[in-house]
């Protein structure tokens, strides 16, 4: 395989991994406390929300890759798929908070919503870290879904079109790289995060650096496997 192609695969894997990590930091994740209305965000782990949305994006990206050779269009299809998934989850999560539990969506980390300028503190239940998904979290989460989905689809496209791997192999490798980077991001988040307005978001560069190294190692492993023939091209 040509060195240029191997370099492109390496760059796409690194870029995809780092983007997936950045996406995780932007998703509003409240973990278990969010299920009790004790924290703002989606009531699941950061890793699983990113993994679920990126896989939905990957599903669509794989379909689009059947009839498009454009890396931008396939990656965008994955990004929009992931963005759609988180948008729908956000809507129904808020429906459940508002109509099922009677809670007003409110941020626990900022006194004023930085986008809509709505006051947050008067609506917050004392002794909680917020509840539901206020407007700023929705916007941050949708951007996060877009970035994460873009990263996952980018890796997938590079693996099928440049590395010429089989669809299933490319899909599994892309999922593995997304998962590894999401776990690193979750370690950096340490529990809950609301999005770009959360003070914890300032620690993102550290996680991105670690994810760069982790993705570089993943990329080197893939390049070595391709050059030594451990994994070979399939039916593309």
């Amino acid at each position: 395989m040509e060195p240029t192609i191997l370099l492109i695969v390496l760059v796409c894997v690194i870029l995809g991994g780092v983007l997936a990590s950045l996406g995780v930091h932007l998703l509003p994740v409240g973990g278990a406390p969010a299920a009790m209305g004790t924290a703002t965000g989606i009531a699941t782990g950061a890793i699983m929300l990113m993994f679920g949305s990126a896989l939905t994006g990957l599903f669509t990206a794989a379909t689009v890759a059947m009839f498009s050779n454009s890396i931008v269009l396939v990656a965008l299809s994955g990004a929009v798929g992931a963005m759609l998934m988180v948008s729908i989850i956000f809507l129904f999560a808020n429906v459940t908070y508002i109509f099922g539990a009677g809670c007003v969506p409110v941020s626990g980390r900022v006194a004023v919503d930085p986008i809509t300028k709505e006051l947050q503190t008067p609506y917050k239940t004392p002794q909680t870290d917020g509840h539901g998904l206020p407007s700023v979290c929705l916007i941050s989460g949708i951007i996060g879904g877009f970035i994460g989905g873009f990263g996952g689809a980018l890796i997938y496209f590079a693996l099928i079109n440049y590395a010429k791997l089989e669809y299933a192999m490319a899909g599994v490798l892309a999922m593995g790289i997304i998962l590894a980077n999401a776990i690193i991001a979750a370690y950096n988040i340490r529990g809950t995060i609301e999005g770009f307005h959360d003070p914890k978001f300032r620690t993102t560069p550290k996680a991105l650096l670690v994810c760069f190294v982790a993705s570089l190692l993943c990329g080197i492993a893939i390049v070595l496997a391709l050059t030594t023939g451990v994994i070979t091209g399939g039916a593309v």
Binding site: F59, F67, L84, T125
Partner: protein
């Protein structure tokens, strides 16, 4: 419109209906077994003196456990299909195998967790164990059957519609893996709120987030007698379950619909030969429009709730 396109959309509608059922029953199963996020309170309750009759099963997070059941079901079904067994038999047999694992894990998770709380005087109620396993297996069976059927139809969507090249490039078990993770992530994100914020703390004031001091102090009494998991399922089936089902149903609806409409308007269908960047572009455009619409609806909903419910007035 060509018959192939009509069939393609018809099969997609079947997938959407199955998706609604899959995620609704996933949520009801998690309510029956008290899995995932609200389980933290069931686990904490005896430690704060609240001995209870809840089923305590947290095998793992919902996405991973549902991924395990769905992938096991899909893999067994795939092996049987390769042996020439009809899908009508292969898929249920695969799902039954996955459910056998589910019941084993449920038993060990419940008994292991509850017996570990002996020091807090929490007994292992055998009637709770025996009485909950069958509903767990039944809800799990329906959920897994729907996920496996969705994956089977998607991996053969082209063949079923008369355009074989449109079969999804991912193999059947991998699609089970993807939808298992996604269904679990949705059930954990949406349905758990109704159980965790409302039903688990129903003797606390309605309309507020549950304060940290309430944690572990779950509602242990039912309308009549002592509350058990069956009382929770009947409650969550009226709101949390259908909401969760709608979430996954809508995701599958919009994801497939925008791609298919893009393919149709871009001229890729019904021949499905060659390349069509226009099809991809239209799909992306429709997707972005739906996301913007959903965002606007959601932001208006937040504003409506703020205006209607008003600021917090409790102590």
């Amino acid at each position: 419109m060509a018959a192939e396109i009509v069939l393609l959309f018809a099969w997609t509608i079947v997938i959407i209906a199955l998706a609604f059922l899959a995620c609704m029953f996933e949520d009801l199963e998690s309510d029956t077994g008290s899995q995932s996020n609200p389980n933290s309170q069931v686990q904490l309750a005896p430690q704060v003196g609240y001995v209870h009759r809840f089923f305590n099963k947290a095998i793992s997070g919902e996405p991973l456990s549902w991924c395990m059941y769905a992938t096991t079901s899909g893999t067994i079904a795939w092996v049987l299909l390769k042996q020439g067994v009809t899908p009508l038999l292969a898929i249920p047999i695969g799902v039954l195998t996955g459910e056998a694992l589910h019941v084993i894990f449920s038993t060990t998770a419940h008994v292991g967790r509850v017996s570990g709380q002996k020091r807090f005087q929490q007994p292992v109620y055998l009637d709770v164990l025996y009485g909950s396993l069958l509903p767990i297996a039944a809800f799990g069976f329906i959920g897994s059957l729907c996920i496996t059927s969705i994956a089977y139809i998607q991996s053969n969507l082209g063949t079923l519609s008369g355009i074989p090249q449109l079969n999804h490039p991912f193999p059947f078990p991998l699609l089970c893996f993807i939808w298992g993770i996604t269904v679990g992530a949705i059930g954990s994100s949406t349905g758990d709120i109704h159980y965790g914020t409302e039903r688990e703390f129903q003797d606390r004031p309605f309309g507020e987030g549950k304060r940290v001091v309430y944690h572990g102090k779950i509602t242990r009494y039912a309308d009549c007698g002592i509350r058990r998991q069956h009382d929770i399922v009947s409650f969550c089936a009226k709101f949390g379950g259908p909401c969760t089902g709608l979430t996954f149903g809508s995701i599958i609806l919009f994801e497939n619909w925008r791609t298919l409409v893009g393919m149709m308007l871009g001229g890729y269908l019904p021949a499905a030969i060659g390349l069509s960047d226009t099809a991809a572009l239209i799909g992306i455009g429709i997707g972005i429009a739906i996301v913007v619409l959903l965002l606007v609806v959601n932001m208006r909903l937040v504003r409506w709730a703020r205006k209607t419910y008003g600021p917090f007035v409790g102590a």
